[in-house]
Amino acid sequence: MGHGPLRQRLLLIAPLVLLLALVVLPLGCLLLEGVGGLRLDFFNDPYLRWRLIWSLLQASVSCVLALLLGLPVAWVLARFEFPGRALLVKFLLLPFVMPTLVGAIGVLALFGPHGVMGVNLQDTPWLLLYGNLFFNLPLLIRVALDGFAQTPADRLAAARTLGASPWRVFLRIELPAALPGLCSALCLIFLYCFSGFGLALVLGGQRYATVEVEIYTLVANEMNFSDASALALTAFVLSASCALLYTWFERSITRSRSGQGKVRVPARGWLQRGMLLIALLIVLGFSLAPLCAIVWRALGTGSSAWAVLLDSDTLKALANTARFTGLSLLGALVFGLTHAFALRRSLWFRSLSFLPYAASPVCVAFGLLLLYPGLSASLVLLLGAYTLFAYPFVARSVGAALDAIPACLPDAARSLGATPWRTSLRVLLPLVAPALRRGMAFAAATALGEFAVTLFLSRPEWTTLTTLIYQHMGRPGEMNLDAAMVLSCVLMLLALAAFAVIEWPESQRGGDA
């Protein structure tokens, strides 16, 4: 590490200042207010108790359901070969890139009033749970798939020869091998479900909204800052513990490269084909159906609904979305690169960039509101918050790619006469370019779907596509719902574009094999 460590330390300044000013200080302010607002009888309030219990309950139930539904699907995908399998695995990433509002509307399009499925589940807990599964089931499937696919085939064969039936092999060999990954994925799913805002706001209704929605309501409707911060403190403590648990699990995962995984075979026989069918139905039903429902509903509306696209409000919202996404991409580029280059091979520093996700968007936005009252509704703060939530993806992607570059390459460049800056420019950057592209696409998807922060910190003239959709949904009438569907289609297409950029196959450059 003799490459001018001072220079590298200087790079630390930018991301640390960002994190300090926009996460640490606001959260500290929030916690202080919260401690001040905590009364002894705070938790005796049955209303707040119910909110808290329900938030924990829905997150736990979502985890359990994801596990029960996702394990069989992952096993089927790991063991069977069928046409379109690769495409399906790729599309498992899609819900992760989708804005939360699109997912919520998709669920409503399926099971809400005037839903495609005909059954109205509004004001029941099932809407929220289904929405949670839409986003998080693919995550569990992918993690479990990795775990199963990497279990060495020899181990499985040995177990069979020792007398274990396929079910026992699964139970005693495959499942334990995937377990560490599953634990960390479950932590993450719990965190997403607990601290999620958009889904709970739209799908929760009166009874089944979560703590995050309660915080927002307390601030936006009642301006009850003391209660809101007390609640935010509780929520933060819970989600931070969950995040810590997640990092602990991540560290204890050993990615073993010992031995080849089992080769996939086509499904044979009725039982195997049946399992394959059920797995496909689960995936389609939970993770693709809502999106299809939106398209279906949008296409079924009349031309008057599609005319909303030409509305001045819509055009302004589109312009704002483009503006904010573009600017936050710029911020994500700068901060992501400095963060990744600042402290190489330091896993803990890289995970520091995800600090705002350990809290929740609502807590961070609320903290910003408390700490910078003069700046609330200023473009700087809004874009700062956008960048804050977008740049970790760039930092992580580029950081991992930097780790993968063998040390001898920059050494060789240095010895051939390149200064550290020229080395980064001519050797390191081109080699991390694919990872940078992927990270930026994730950042763009995050900025597109940004919702909580915009609700808290935005001005009416800065309506984005997401808040416009939310506004349409708040107004009564078939017309507004149709308009919301059409706009959600547009948002979905934009997210799909980001997804395409992420998954674009890398071109062969200079012939790297």
């Binding site: 049955p46 009850n224 003069g374 609330s376 009416p460 003239e461 009438g477």
Partner: protein, 337 residues
């Protein structure tokens, strides 16, 4: 490819920061509506461009104004009513304005420099057709609504998120006193009360006239007139009626005010005077379904079909400002849990 991204982003920034035009920014709640010709006339005569910002429910609108008072998002606010005026003044977002002398007398005023524009009554509406079919006698007192005969018939709005709901809560407290009022609400809840987030959802989704299941809805005294006005066929009588029960009528006086720290003061003053002008006072009756505050304004014909309430139970603005948050919190615990 990266440099192209950079240039695009830079371009977009520049466009974003381009100089703001100088329109008059008027922020109002979602129910604000004026005929286009009336507004266009104002713009033509004064040369002022009006930019209308709709900001949700009145309570949410006020909250947004309070949160952004360091850098106000508008110059003039419409929709501050007697339930909100105390809080608005306390938060210091209002620049007091007195209308020009020599104008016509007004029926009601608002304190703290807010200029009253219209007034209305929040009360219960009932679906005549449903009651005729069910042959159920109409309730005579508020307490009747807690009887088993009227189980699952009422839908109201949440006072925390809807000014209509808040108005009803306030009138019940005014009529029965706080303790009895909350006992009443608890019994209402047990009798199958439905709560919705806002007036639109209650009226357009839950009311039996619009396909819902509840024939009694918390709405405005002028809503029956609106039903006649907007109906496709010509109607002689209103299909809904006001259920004017003692303790269930709240008088709402709504006004417009200058926002402290806003720009375009001269234009804003002109707009406020405009809202008190004959054209607007006549127009707002069939657009916003409120009564004009300026005496002598000709009443819209369709208003003749509804009974204007004579009694109402409305606490004073000061009382509202002092107690409303605590009352709302208590209501949430008692009714929603």
């Amino acid at each position: 490819m990266q440099s192209r991204h950079f240039c695009l982003a830079l371009l977009l920034t520049v466009c974003g920061f381009s100089a703001h035009a100088d329109p008059l920014r008027v922020i109002a709640h979602d129910s604000f509506d004026l005929s286009k010709p009336v507004l266009a006339d104002f713009e033509k005569q004064t040369g002022i461009k009006v930019e209308l910002i709709k900001a949700g429910d009145a309570g949410q609108m006020l909250n947004k104004l309070i949160l952004t008072r360091a850098n106000p998002i508008a110059d003039v606010v419409f929709g501050i009513d007697n339930t909100l005026v105390g809080r608005a003044a306390q938060a210091g977002i209002i620049d007091p304005y007195t209308p020009k002398a020599g104008a016509k007398p007004v029926r009601f005023t608002l304190p703290n420099g807010v200029v009253s524009v219209d007034y209305g009554y929040v009360t219960l509406n009932l679906d005549k057709a449903w009651f005729a079919k069910s042959k159920l006698p109409l309730p005579k007192r508020l307490d009747d609504l807690t009887l088993p005969a009227y189980r699952n018939l009422l839908v109201v709005e949440n006072p925390a998120t809807s000014s209509t709901g808040l108005a009803f809560l306030l009138s019940t407290i005014r009529a029965m006193g706080e303790e009895r009022a909350f006992q009443f609400w608890a019994r209402l809840r047990q009798n199958g009360l439905k709560v919705s987030n806002g007036w639109s959802q209650a009226y357009y989704t839950e009311f039996t006239r619009n396909g819902g299941a509840r024939p009694i809805v918390l709405s405005y005294a002028t809503s029956p007139a609106a039903e006649v006005f907007y109906s496709k066929q010509k109607l002689n009588a209103a299909p809904t009626d006001n259920l004017l029960l003692p303790g269930a009528v709240f008088q709402q006086v709504e006004g417009i005010a200058l926002i402290k720290g806003g720009h375009e003061r001269a234009a804003a003053a002109k707009f406020i005077e405009f809202m008190r002008s004959d054209a607007v006072q006549k127009d707002l009756q069939t657009k916003m379904w409120m009564y004009p505050v300026v005496s002598g304004t000709p009443q819209a014909a369709v208003f003749g079909l509804v009974r204007e309430p004579v009694q109402h139970q409305t606490p004073s603005a000061a009382e509202i400002q002092k107690n409303a948050p605590a009352w709302v919190k208590r209501w949430i615990r008692v009714v929603l849990k």
